[in-house]
Symmetry: C2
Subunit: 213 residues, 2 copies
């Protein structure tokens, strides 16, 4: 039970995704929780059977805690949240609220925002019918998040794993200037990323990948 | 504790999404669990403040159980899974596996498949750079799911809430013929949708929306 948690991430990634690789969500959570952890690396260029056995999509990160392995950033955040009252309350009602917003970040908002970011990444500006529908999909989600965030600091009471997920999701939208018309969402990202735990997690990820250049 | 669970869904939807509205995931889970429930309706055309208070994105469904309300299909599946050994094991290891695959369905696969489906829905066939990247994103996820499903019937031991989520996600891909090159994934969808609980949930949803025509 007193195992040190291990985060496994890539040994290196190109410049573009640095600061946005999902081990950041886990580093951030563990920093907030004050739980001891260390970071190990797996090859970005050569992903072998052992990698796919731990992370079935060949992605990162995964978490190891003694004999237990966990993949999917949502599942890992829940795993850490269940071990830290700083990240999720123990009472059933509070816990349920956090879990709802955790899924909202990953399935209602990121499902719209990540595809939008992939378009931005390619520089594609063609307004085809599908693209227009995707843009409207994201706009509707951001409009609602802006309304929600205009009257609260954090999604479900105190800061929680739901905020780590949602702020990280919205942060990538902000990177491509997608929050310009959504000031409450932009303020929320700034509030979240001003936390010392985020700053340390972010700096550590940047240093980790830079060390392999 | 012996409250009857209530699923709230739209009173009516257009033809296209019928059979795919997300109350199906919840109906399916409750049928598998053998838990009593009833279905209530909210207006599709007029979504008021009370709707947004229950479901912050103005979507459906949400679940009500006494004083508790839950939104997000992932959170609702977890809620039902925690109340039924038929949908999630009680032991920590088994539970963790199910939760990882539940998040995988919603955040690794559906994040790629739903945007692809939106394109199919619009009939957009323009191969722009962003579109090509989106298509590759889905292809990589399906290729991996096909590999995973080629050696097991269900994702995490026995049938679970993770299979409800994953099969429903892949079912929408199959509708647009996206599983033609992924026979194990297609077989999995057939296996899942052959279950009596799915058939009843699907028939009930179709009847619910047809009744409002």
């Amino acid at each position: 039970m007193s195992n040190e948690i291990v985060i496994t991430t890539y040994d290196w990634v190109p410049e573009m995704p640095r600061g946005f690789v999902r081990d950041l969500r886990l580093r951030w959570a563990l920093e907030e929780a004050g739980l001891p952890y260390r970071v190990e690396s797996v090859s970005f260029r050569d992903r072998g059977d052992e990698h796919f056995a731990r992370q079935p999509f060949g992605q990162v990160p995964w978490l190891t805690d003694g004999n237990e392995t966990v993949f999917e950033s949502g599942a890992m955040l829940l795993y850490v949240g269940e071990r830290s009252p700083a990240l999720m309350p123990n009472d059933p009602r509070g816990r349920s609220e956090v879990i709802q917003w955790l899924f909202a970040a990953l399935n209602s908002v990121e499902m719209a925002s990540l595809p939008w970011s992939l378009y931005k990444f390619t520089g594609d500006t063609e307004e085809t019918p599908g693209r227009k529908l995707m843009d409207r999909f994201l706009a509707s989600r951001l409009q609602r998040m802006d309304a929600v965030l205009s009257d609260r600091d954090w999604l479900a009471g105190d800061f929680s794993i739901a905020d780590i997920a949602m702020a990280d999701v919205l942060r990538l939208v902000d990177r491509f200037d997608g929050l310009a018309e959504h000031p409450a969402a932009r303020d929320y990202v700034q509030r979240a990323t001003a936390r010392p735990a985020f700053k340390k997690a972010h700096a550590d990820q940047m240093a980790h990948f830079a060390a392999a250049d």
